[in-house]
Point group: C2
Chain length 366, copies 2
C-alpha cells in the first residue's frame, strides 16, 4: 500500500527543505522540480525518496548548496563544467543549458561535467532539448555496484544513458536506461516485498548468479545489461564504461570504483583521481541535419510504424521508448504521487529535523 | 576446419574484384582494407565472407561503384553526406573524415549519412579518430531482423554502436557492439555446426524463445540486447532505435523495416521513405575537453584499474573492450586468415566469374 500526496505539495515540501539547507529560491525550486519529475514519470527510486539522502550529503559536507557552477574550458561545440560540489539536480540543468546554447550556434553542443553529485533521472535533462527542436542526450556515472563481465569486483555504477528526440504530432521518443540488466531500485522493491529476484540481475561475492535481492549488501554485484557473456553482458559492460569515460575522464571527475557513494555514511574511496561525480550532456539541432519539419514528419512515420508492429501473444501493443513514463504523468498529477510507508516515515523525520511542515496525504492506493 | 590465406593475398584478391566491378584503384584499395579489417580483428562474419554479397548487390544495380559521394548540408559541427549508392566500405571512411575535419575546427564533428550500403565493421571507422587524438563514434542501421520487445515483427537491424577512445601507454579502448543479444554471424556458425542456440538469442514466428539457429529463415526474429523484458530487452530495443534514428531519420535514409536488405535476391521493401541505408559518425577532439596528455594519463589509469579487477572463478583476467579483436590482429597477420570451406568455394566461384586469380592457401587449422 502507498500513501498519496499531491504533486504540488510534495514539490513545495522538497523546495522548503532545499531552502533550509541553504539553496537559493531559484536553485531550490529547480532542484525540487527535477527531483519530483522522477515521481511524476513513475521512477520512484530517483524521486522524493532520495530527498533525505541529498540532505545527509549536505550535512556531511559533501554537497555545497551555494555552488559557483561554471564553464572552465570550452570550444565552439564543447565545454567542461565544474559543478563546485553543487546538487546534481542543479548542476545538470546548468550544463544542459550550455550544451543547448552551443548547439544553437555550432549545430551541436557537448558538455562534460565534474565535481557534481547525483542528478536525478537522466531523461529529464535530455528532454530540455526538445522545446528547442534539438535532440538531447544525458548520461552520468554513479558509485560502483556493477561487476564487469568475468569479474566479481564492483567497478561501475548503473551509468544511465538518456536520449530525447522530438517528433511532430506524435509525442517525443525518450529512451532512459541504466546500462545494467535491472536498476537497483527494482531490487529495493523486492526487498520490501521479501520476494526473490529473477536470475540474471545480480551475482554473489563469488560471481555466482543470485536471486537474493539483498545480495548487494553481502558483497554481491549488479550485472551489466545482457546478464552473462553468452547473452551479451560484455556489451552492457562496454556501454557502462563509455558513460563512465565520457562523464568523468573527459571532465576530470572520479571514475570507476572511485565515484563518491550516494549514502553519506559510506566513506569516500581512497586516492580519488578526480573531483566529485561526472555527467555528460549533448544537444544536436535538428536543422543542423534536416529541416525540422521534414525530420518530424519522418519521426511521426517512424513512431506510428513501430506502434503498429505486430504484438506478441499476450500483449496488445508495442511501446515506443518513453511511453510508460509519459503515460504516468497525467495520472500522478491527478491522483497524487504514491509514497511507500518507509519513505513517508523518513520524510516526516526529515521535516521535523529541518523544521518544515510535512504535507497532508491526499489518499491511499493498493 | 578452416583454410588459411595470407592477409595480403586476400586483400589483393578483394581489391582486384572491386576493380573489376568498376571501382577506382583508390576506392578498391580502401574497400578491401576496410573489409579485411574485420577478418584481421576476428569478426569473420563481416569480412571477406561478404565479398560476393557486395558484388551481387552491384550486379543487381543496388551499388554504384563510381559514386559521387558528397556533403549535402552542413554546419560548423555537423554534416549530412549522400553516398550516391556507393559501397558503404568507401562511403563510411569519407563521412568519418568529414567528422574528423569538423572536430579539428569546432571541437566535435557529427555526420549522418544516407544512400549508403553495408559498411563493414563499425569499429574500424570509429578507430580512424584515434590517430588525431579524438574519440571516434560509428553506428549504422541494417535490414530488419530484430523484433521490438512485445512484438513478433522484424523492425530493426542489429544496429551496432562503436566507440574508440585513445589512451597513452595502454592500447585504445574500442567498444564495437550490435544492439542485439547475439549477432547474426553467431547463428550462422551454429547452423554450419548443426548445433542448437542458447535460449535468449532469437524467437520464433509466434514470439516464443527458440534454440533453432535456422529460426530466422522460418519467420523468427533476433532479440534486442537483454533478451526479454525482465532482463532489459526494452533497453536493447531503445538503443537499436536510437541508432536507426541517428543514422537514417537525421540523414534521409531508410529506417526500420524499410532498410534495404544485404542479400541481393531479397526484393526491396515497398514504399521506402528514404535513400539507401544510413550511418552516423562522430569525432570529439580530446583537447576540446582536457589536455590530451592529462586525459591519456587518466585513460591509462582507468584501463589498468579495470584490468586489475578481481576475476571471477574460472577466469584469469578481466578484459577491456577491444582486447580480443586487438589480440587477434598480429596472430592472423602472422598465421593467415582462416576461411571456412563454404566461403572458399563461394570466393573461388566469384574469382572465376570475375576473371581474377584466386589466392593459394598458406595452411590449414582446426
Amino acid at each position: 500500500m502507498s500513501i498519496l500526496f499531491a504533486y504540488d505539495d510534495l514539490t513545495e515540501f522538497a523546495c522548503s527543505i532545499f531552502k533550509k539547507a541553504g539553496c537559493s529560491d531559484r536553485d531550490a525550486r529547480l532542484a525540487s522540480e527535477v527531483l519530483l519529475s522522477a515521481d511524476l514519470r513513475g521512477i520512484d527510486s530517483h524521486g522524493v525518496a532520495r530527498l533525505s539522502g541529498y540532505i545527509r550529503l549536505w550535512e556531511g559536507g559533501r554537497i555545497n548548496t551555494c555552488p559557483d557552477i561554471k564553464v572552465v574550458h570550452e570550444t565552439m561545440s564543447t565545454a567542461v563544467v565544474d559543478g563546485d560540489s553543487g546538487l546534481g539536480l542543479v548542476v545538470a540543468p546548468f550544463a544542459m543549458r550550455v550544451a543547448i546554447q552551443k548547439a544553437a550556434v555550432a549545430g551541436t553542443g557537448w558538455v562534460s561535467v565534474r565535481n557534481s553529485n547525483h542528478f536525478g533521472i537522466a531523461g529529464k535533462h535530455a528532454m530540455m532539448a526538445l522545446e528547442h527542436d534539438m535532440i538531447g542526450i544525458s548520461m552520468t556515472n554513479a558509485s560502483a555496484l556493477v561487476a564487469p563481465t568475468f569479474s566479481v569486483e564492483r567497478m561501475l555504477g548503473t551509468n544511465p544513458i538518456a536520449v530525447a528526440i522530438p517528433a511532430g504530432s506524435q509525442p517525443p521518443f525518450v529512451a532512459d536506461l541504466a546500462t545494467t540488466t535491472a536498476a537497483n531500485g527494482k531490487l529495493e522493491i523486492l526487498q520490501r516485498k521479501e520476494e526473490n529476484m529473477p536470475k540474471g540481475w545480480a551475482q554473489d561475492v563469488n560471481g555466482k548468479n543470485s536471486t537474493d535481492p539483498n545480495i548487494l549488501k553481502k558483497g554481491g554485484a549488479l550485472l551489466p545489461l545482457g546478464s552473462d557473456r553468452e547473452h551479451g553482458s560484455h556489451k552492457g559492460y562496454a556501454l557502462g564504461s563509455v558513460v563512465d569515460i565520457f562523464s568523468a575522464v573527459l571532465s576530470g571527475a572520479n571514475y570507476g570504483p572511485w565515484v563518491p557513494p550516494f549514502p553519506a555514511y559510506v566513506p569516500l574511496p581512497q586516492n580519488m583521481p578526480g573531483k566529485g561525480l561526472g555527467h555528460f550532456f549533448g544537444a544536436m539541432r535538428i536543422d543542423a541535419f534536416q529541416p525540422a519539419a521534414e525530420f518530424k514528419k519522418h519521426m511521426d512515420h517512424w513512431i506510428t510504424r513501430f506502434r503498429s508492429a505486430k504484438p506478441a501473444k499476450g500483449h496488445d501493443r508495442v511501446l515506443i521508448p518513453g511511453d510508460p513514463e509519459r503515460e504516468s504523468e497525467p495520472v500522478r498529477r491527478a491522483k497524487g504521487i504514491p509514497v511507500v510507508q518507509a519513505v513517508v516515515d523518513d520524510l516526516a523525520e526529515l521535516a521535523e529535523k529541518m523544521g518544515v511542515k510535512f504535507p497532508v496525504e491526499c489518499g491511499r492506493e493498493e
